[in-house]
């Protein structure tokens, strides 16, 4: 059986025709892949634990009942219809809600066993370790170089090391070849796909442990999307990635585990998001245990 055929059966009709299937099942991992050996050893190191997380905006619950564990060096996808709270949960992982007036995170979020919302925790330090890439590419109105160098400079990286750091980050983000001749040009002159990869490079330059991606490809064309998906696949060896996506095929292609959220309307008419199911991506897309998940992935609603 070829990879493609495997993928097709696995996704039960939600075909992915890309040869490099995002996850490696034990049977299809190429023997020469080093990751296969140490896989059992470092398998499933849980870094995020969310227990009964609920996020409120000005006292109104936006999403509730989120209990999941996120493992290192995996790609975890959040899927679900609009307004189901995927982005809200994502932003609770690096305390981005702190800067939204009226937002409050209830329940417990731990990162490497530490309460992320503990009183002594410094949100800036949290965000330095847990970076974020946004839905809309948001490069600063500075040069390409200054965009990538921004994080290292702020964090006190030595002047002499910044050039290296910038080059490395741009290489990791698969952008170096396209921009190395125009590092002094404005980042705003790049194309949308390049801008998004620049934002990824900007995030990588800080050398975080986790990268949160909030629909990073929704503003991009399929070619730019494919590049960023390839990139995620490479990055997961070094980083933990959590991605919010509207695109189910994308979740199926790139992620190891998938959390499905949906929105429900209570008696008072408030719309709130809820986590329905969280499992290995393969299971979510082939044997979901909840009928709502099945309904969503087969396109019956949402």
């Amino acid at each position: 059986m070829t990879d493609t055929a495997t993928a097709t059966t696995r996704f039960g009709g939600l075909t992915t025709t890309r040869e490099e299937s995002a996850w490696q099942g034990p049977d299809e991992a190429p023997p020469e892949e080093p990751a296969a050996e140490d896989k059992p050893e470092r398998a499933r190191e849980i870094i995020f634990e969310l227990a009964g997380v609920e996020v409120q905006y000005s006292g109104v619950t936006a999403v509730t009942g989120v209990t999941i564990e996120i493992a290192a060096n995996e790609i975890t996808a959040f899927i679900g219809p609009s307004g189901c709270g995927k982005t809200t949960v994502l932003r609770s992982l690096n305390r981005m809600h702190d800067i939204t007036p009226g937002a409050e995170v209830l329940g417990k979020v731990t990162y490497h066993g530490q309460d992320l919302y503990g009183s002594k925790v410094d949100p800036a330090e949290v965000r330095r370790r847990i970076g974020m890439v946004f839905q809309k590419p948001n490069p600063f109105p500075k040069s390409v170089y200054d965009n990538v160098a921004y994080g290292p400079r702020i964090n006190g990286t030595k002047r002499s090391e910044i050039d290296d750091r910038v080059e490395r980050a741009l290489n990791q983000a698969a952008l170096w070849d396209e921009v190395h001749g125009k590092l002094r040009k404005s980042a705003l002159a790049l194309s949308g796909g390049q801008q998004q990869r620049l934002c990824i490079a900007r995030c990588l330059a800080v050398e975080p442990d986790v990268i949160l991606m909030d629909e990073p490809c929704s503003a991009l064309d399929p070619i730019a999307t494919a590049r960023i998906e390839d990139l995620m696949d490479e990055l997961k060896n070094q980083y933990t990635i959590v991605i919010v996506t509207h695109n189910m095929q994308q979740a199926a292609r790139v992620s190891d585990r998938t959390a499905f959220f949906t929105a429900e309307v209570d008696d008072a008419g408030h719309r709130r998001g809820r986590l329905i199911e969280y499992d290995v991506t393969e299971t979510i897309f082939t044997h979901p245990s909840d009928p709502r998940t099945e309904g969503y992935i087969t396109g019956r609603f949402g």
Binding site: N94, M96, I99, P101, A124, E125, V126, R127, R128, R129, G131, M132, F134, K136, N138, P139, F140, P141, K142, S143, D146, Y150, G151, I154, N155, R184, K185, S186, L188, A189, C199, R202, C203, V206
Partner: protein, 300 residues
Amino acid sequence: MSATPVSLTQSARKGRRELKNVVATTLIVGSFLVALIPLTFIVIYVFQRGASILSWSFLTEDLPFSNRREGGGIYPAIIGTLVITGAATAMAVPLGILGGIYLNEYGGPGIFARIVRFLADVMTGVPSIVMGLFIYTIWVLPRKQSGLSGFAGALALGCLMLPIVIRTTEEILKLVPDELREGSYALGTRKAQTIRRVVFPSAAPGIISGALLGIARVAGETAPLLFTIGVVSVANFNVFEGSNTALPPQIYTNANTFGGFDAAQDRAWGMALALILIVFLFTLIARIVTTIYTRRSTAV
């Protein structure tokens, strides 16, 4: 001609719509021209009357001892205008920019910020002569004769400038998209760093325009200087000590000289032209600096 089921030609309403368009366009162009007329006339007239007086010696000589004498120059008034406006700018612009940053980035909808915003708006509405009287009362009077100085004038002008700078800074900062702030925070930066390195540089051209607006506004103010700076006929570079003079009050006194004394009238026109040129030159320089600064920081 065969009847077609789908008509792509314009309907009967076309005529009315086009008429509206023509009327609106005419009104807009007309208003523009009407607004242009006084401006053009002022500039042309001031040039006509002032250009013949303007000369190197006019710009560099001391003021005549009395307005009723012929000859002399306007050098002390130019220096006075420069140092007084400069001192006012040095006080009001930094404070105003910081105030604007506070209102937009820290205060937000809070009660203290709302009070500051309200007071700034009230301050904008205070007539300039009242501001002059205010400074006269709290600064000049307690100091008797030594109270009259360029600094007292600068205080009055600064008070006029401050609310303009605060409010324009706040409005410009509102235009900086939150995505940029979030992008910066997501890299582990603190609020102050984000404001200094991302928010402020993005807004700098607009903020500088706002400051310029304030400077240009006060550079031509007469009333607040009339009873705060005194009068001298030789240049006084010291803002803090001794009486001073400036172009606007000199224009006022010369133009008002009893009996329409020709030499004083001419001097007033010359000073008016010099004032216009100074403000224009200053705006031009600030624009060039802003453009270079923006080019460098955005490197388009």
